[in-house]
Structures are given as structure tokens and as C-alpha cells.
């Protein structure tokens, strides 16, 4: 599903990560500053590795030796950022529709309905992002990423900006997403409890290196 073997120098910090996983929910675990976001940005194509390869679903999207770098917009990945990043000039319905329009996909009413229902955002469709709570914004961002029909979903601390109450509000949606949406995901977090609930496989990152890899039990 996902194969990563990259090197990247970012100022003083050097990232050297290598793993391969067929897992449906890969948990990327590490303290802040361990290089999690840089790694995810490289999988997304927003950052270019200095050396190495990234293979998503059998397609090589980065191979520095062969001069391959597929730009982010052609990777068909979904990316949910910690800060949602909804488009402020579009309402919720238009935000949800954005990826489908950009990828020139035909409207898919049943998928739209299913995801709106799954994330419980039907009542928000006419609203502007400015009028949403943090939790609502994150659910819309999830829906927006899913509706672009990605082959891999990247979630970078999607609960990081929320307080405890809100986290508990969103977590069940993420579990449902993992079980029902049929999209493999990479879930980034520094919270072991979160990952125990969501991930099926763990990649542990420490100071830019993969220190352990395996089932959820590596977290203990």
C-alpha cells in the first residue's frame, strides 16, 4: 500500500525514514519535532525528498534516482490538516465539492450522502467556515478530503487543535471512517491513546529515524 524510503535535510534536522506497510490504518507516532509532518508532507508531494522513493498503491510518486516527482495535485491523496484549512470564501457544500470539481469527477450523489451522513454535517452545508466550531470544521475537512476520492488519506494530528471534549466528539467518526470509508489512511499523532483506538500498524519516529514498526503493541 505504502512504501517509503527517504532522506531529507531540513536545516539542522535530518530525516531518514524507511518503512513499508499494507496496513489500512498506519499510525505515525512520535513527539513533536520528530519529523512526522515533514514525512507526511513528502508523502503528499508538498515537500520533495533529497533522496529516496515513495510508492503509493503500486505507483512510484517519488524516485529521486529516476527523476520522478509526481506533483501533489496529481497524487490523488486526501490530506486533513491540524488546522482544517477550509476555504473561507466558499460555504461548506462548496468546500466539500471542491476536490470533485478539481479532479473532474462526475457527481456521486450516493457517496456524497453517505459521507455527509457519516460525518453528520448535513445541517452545516449552507454555512461559511467562519461560522463553524473547531470540531465541525475538522469534520468538514474530513468530508472534503474523502469526497475527492483519494486512494490514501493523510491525517496530520486532526484532533490536535481541539480540547478534550471535542476530541471525544470526533474520535468515533474517525473509527467509523476507518471501518466504513474503504480508504487506507496514515494517521499522525503524538497521543498513544488516540493511536491505540485508530491504528492497525504503528511507525514510531524519533528524531527523524524510524525506531520501531509493528502492531499497536509497540506503543507500550
Amino acid at each position: 500500500m505504502l512504501r517509503v524510503d527517504i532522506e531529507k535535510q531540513l536545516g539542522e534536522f535530518s530525516l531518514h525514514a524507511s518503512f513499508a506497510s499494507e496496513g489500512r490504518a498506519i499510525g505515525l507516532f512520535g513527539a513533536s519535532g520528530a519529523g512526522k509532518t515533514s514525512l507526511v508532507n513528502m508523502i503528499a508531494g508538498l515537500l520533495r525528498p533529497d533522496r529516496g522513493t515513495i510508492v503509493i498503491d503500486g505507483e512510484t510518486v517519488d524516485d529521486t534516482a529516476a527523476g520522478i516527482h509526481v506533483p501533489a495535485w496529481r497524487r490523488r491523496i486526501g490530506y486533513v490538516f491540524q488546522d482544517a484549512r477550509l476555504f473561507p470564501h466558499l460555504n461548506v457544500a462548496q468546500n466539500l465539492d471542491y476536490g470533485r470539481r478539481m479532479n473532474r469527477l462526475p457527481p456521486d450523489a450516493s457517496q456524497h450522502k453517505r459521507i455527509v451522513h457519516l460525518l453528520d454535517i448535513g445541517a452545516l452545508l449552507d454555512r461559511r467556515p467562519g461560522k463553524l466550531s473547531g470540531g465541525e470544521r475538522q469534520r468538514v475537512a474530513l468530508g472534503r478530503a474523502l469526497l475527492s476520492k483519494p486512494r490514501l488519506l493523510l491525517l496530520d494530528e486532526p484532533l490536535g487543535a481541539l480540547d478534550e471534549g471535542r476530541k471525544l466528539e470526533i474520535l468515533p467518526y474517525l473509527v467509523r471512517l476507518r471501518d466504513e470509508a474503504n480508504v487506507p489512511m496514515v494517521y499522525v499523532s503524538h497521543d498513544a491513546a488516540e493511536l491505540r483506538q485508530l491504528a492497525t500498524q504503528i511507525v514510531m519516529l524519533k528524531q527523524g529515524r524510524v525506531t520501531s514498526f509493528g502492531g499497536v503493541k509497540v506503543l507500550t
Binding site: G45, L46, W73, G78, H89, Y98, A145
Partner: protein, 231 residues
């Protein structure tokens, strides 16, 4: 105001036409340049920035004279355009529009550039991950978010263009019905005995136009900002 003479109307309508065309033609260039200055680093960037601002600080008569040398019938660019495309600037209203466009350009670009600089680039990254090619990101995210600045720049540029005098009269002279804008009409009238009343009327017209443009710029900016932040 009802006793505005046909000659004065001609000058008013010509000014409007010149300023509107100057603004509309300058806007795409202004947006492109604003984006370039806001988002790209390249060799000679500060020089380009300085050249764009030059008309703001040069004596207008110098800008007009340089335009005459470049875009006049025997000028390097003017000769080429006249011979190959049939576009003539010298002593035509199109030349007035060119002069006004050049003079208004720095004022037009500045708000556009500031509003592009203010956009959160992470929104553009988000658009990219959703499958938007760079040009689509520009038209669906960058430009709509920069809209308040684009409109403010257009209105400000228009206000400057409609009041331009020095470069215009140097480049295309002061021909009634062809290149005589409100400003050059006022200039002629105050040098004519008994021209005071007519000059006064045109002065009022230009104050009304300038004030209207400033109020419109403010209104556009506020509306667009409200559109961008919340409901």
C-alpha cells in the same frame, strides 16, 4: 449642473472612457505583476519593483516625454505597433489611456500585491492536495481571496487615471474631442478669459468623480472582506 456645455460633456465622457479603458487593460497586468512580486523571487526583482513605482515619483512631464519617445509614431515600440498592428497612440485618445494607465499602475498594483501577500499559503497547499493544478489554485483560491485588494486597486487606479494631467498632455497634447480630458479642459479654460464658470463646473465634476471612486473602493473592500470572513 444642468448648464454643462456639449464641449464639457465631451471632455467628461472622454475622461471616463480613457480612465475605464486604462483601468481594464492595466488590471490583468497588475494582477500578474502583483502575484510575481508577492510570490516569486527572481533576479532583478527590486529593480522591477522600482521601475513600476517610477511614475509615482518622476515628474509627469518626464513620463509623458518618455512615452512619446517610445510609443510615438517614430518611437521604437510605437512605430512597430503602427506599421504592423495599426495601433497608433500619438495624439489619439488611446495614447491618453496609455499615459493614464502607466501613471495609475503603481497605485493599482500596490493593494493587489498586499492582498496576495496576506493570503495564507497553506490554503493553496490544501487546494493542491485536493487535485487542483497550480493555475486552478490561482483562479479558485488565490484570486477570489485577493478580490478585495484587486477591486481596491482597480478603483484607486481609475481615480488616478481620471485625474491624470502632466503625462497625458505631454504625450498626446490637448485636442478637444480626441485627447482633451477633464484635466486638460480645465487647464485650457483657466487660461481663457471668461473660462472661470466652465472651469468651475468641471472642477466640481472631478471632485465628485474622485470622491465617488474613493467611496466605491471603500465599499468594495468592506463587502468583499465580509464575504471572505464568515457570513
Amino acid at each position: 449642473m444642468s448648464d454643462i456645455s456639449p464641449a464639457e460633456w465631451t471632455a467628461i465622457l472622454l475622461s471616463l472612457r480613457v480612465a475605464i479603458i486604462a483601468t481594464l487593460v492595466a488590471t490583468p497586468f497588475g494582477i500578474a505583476l502583483a502575484w510575481l512580486l508577492a510570490r516569486r523571487d527572481f533576479w532583478g526583482k527590486s529593480l522591477l519593483d522600482a521601475v513600476v513605482h517610477l511614475p509615482l515619483v518622476l515628474p509627469p512631464v518626464v513620463t509623458g516625454y518618455l512615452l512619446l519617445l517610445t510609443f510615438g509614431r517614430r518611437g521604437l515600440v510605437g512605430g512597430f505597433l503602427a506599421d504592423h498592428l495599426g495601433i497608433v497612440f500619438s495624439f489619439r485618445w488611446t495614447g491618453a489611456a496609455l499615459a493614464c494607465g502607466v501613471m495609475a499602475f503603481p497605485l493599482l498594483v500596490r493593494p493587489m500585491r498586499l492582498s496576495i501577500e496576506a493570503i495564507d499559503r497553506r490554503l493553496e497547499q490544501a487546494a493542491e492536495t485536493l487535485g487542483a493544478a497550480p493555475w486552478k489554485v490561482f483562479f479558485t483560491v488565490t484570486l477570489p481571496l485577493a478580490l478585495p485588494g484587486v477591486l481596491a486597486g482597480m478603483v484607486l487606479g481609475f481615480a488616478k487615471a481620471i485625474g491624470e494631467f502632466g503625462a497625458t498632455i505631454t504625450f498626446v497634447s490637448n485636442i478637444p474631442g480626441e485627447t482633451q480630458t477633464i484635466s486638460s479642459a480645465i487647464y485650457s479654460l483657466i487660461q481663457t478669459p471668461d473660462g472661470d464658470a466652465a472651469a468651475g463646473r468641471l472642477v466640481i465634476v472631478s471632485i465628485v468623480l474622485a470622491l465617488g471612486a474613493l467611496i466605491a473602493a471603500e465599499w468594495f473592500a468592506r463587502r468583499a472582506t465580509a464575504r471572505l470572513h464568515g457570513n
